[in-house]
Symmetry: C2
Subunit: 168 residues, 2 copies
DNA sequence: TTGAATCACGAAAACAGTTTTCAATATCGA
DNA sequence: TCGATATTGAAAACTGTTTTCGTGATTCAA
């Protein structure tokens, strides 16, 4: 029911579908297809997890070093508008972007030690929220649930924390 | 089980207890009692709901116009450190501060039409989260649940929305 | 009570993340 | 291909927040 963010290869077929969907969105909106947008989108969908703008920019620059912040920001907004990507904020002050995963909607557990972000979904949780909203005469459009804490597997967690520390 | 943010008068006795608790905190930390801090804390605890820095500053300036941003920010940090106040971020980019309400921990429903923020708490929800964390070998330190949507009472909601629009 | 050490203040500058501006360039339909 | 229009990249602007720095308060020991 839960999926860590670094356990699977990216599904090439799915990536291509998403690229196509984005291309369609661009056309529908009467916008223009550009090399920069293609590069950014292509790179983004081949990354996994919850990507910050900076992380994305670094990867994008490996393909085309002349692409700058502004274009990455702008393209991410387009991706969000196209509903292919969701923006999330986990309280560290920077936006993170997430290409839809296999689980349509999901919540997050965030380990404060190693930074790992796990996704989960539970229908009982969803139902309970609906019920509480009902009781308060409230209609839910969307919600956000984040559990902050720590992995219980301290060894694996320490390894991840070290890796993260090294690359920073 | 739910409490809106503008249904009650502030309990003067409770406010004074909190002021006293803050004074104690300042002493314990070896910090200094100042007129500015007293003003800010006093004004803050007499406001209800989820206060932004700007909202607080406006009120504080009515008492002492010479108090500036920096001192308000600094005092809010002290309030958070003292555990008398919690910082929240609802994704509109600015921090909001909340003096502990009668409900110790609680979650939020946020109406996107009128801006009303309702608090709620449900033990089944908490238990379910613990269970899901357990299943994922995860230990929760704290969590955040926000339901974004709209009041079903459209009339009351419209009144609030109008009031909010007027003051902005 | 006074004085020295220290802390806190306020204004402005710095900062981080993000958005906008603007001149140059690329795209796309006619 | 041409021309209207959208997009780009670099830099400036912006927003919310934090820090700096010179000045002013507070505290506590003498």
């Amino acid at each position: 029911m839960a999926a860590s963010e670094n356990n699977l290869k990216v599904d090439e077929k799915m990536v291509q579908e998403k690229e196509a969907a984005f291309a369609r969105f661009i056309q529908e909106q009467g916008l223009k297809t550009t090399r920069q947008r293609n590069t950014i989108v292509s790179v983004f969908f081949r990354l996994r997890g919850h990507i910050s703008v900076e992380e994305l920019l670094i990867e994008v620059k490996k393909v085309n070093p002349r692409i700058g912040y502004a274009t990455v920001y702008r393209t991410l907004h387009l991706l969000v508008e196209s509903s292919l990507v969701e923006e999330r904020r986990f309280g560290d002050g920077l936006a993170r972007y997430e290409g839809h995963s296999d689980v349509e909607h999901h919540d997050h557990m965030i380990c404060l030690e190693c930074g790992q972000i796990m996704e989960f979904f539970n229908p009982r949780l969803e139902a309970l929220q609906e019920q509480l909203a009902e009781e308060n005469n409230f209609e839910i459009y969307r919600h956000r649930l984040e559990l902050y804490g720590a992995c219980k597997d301290k060894d694996a967690c320490a390894v991840r924390a070290k890796k993260k520390g090294a690359q920073a």
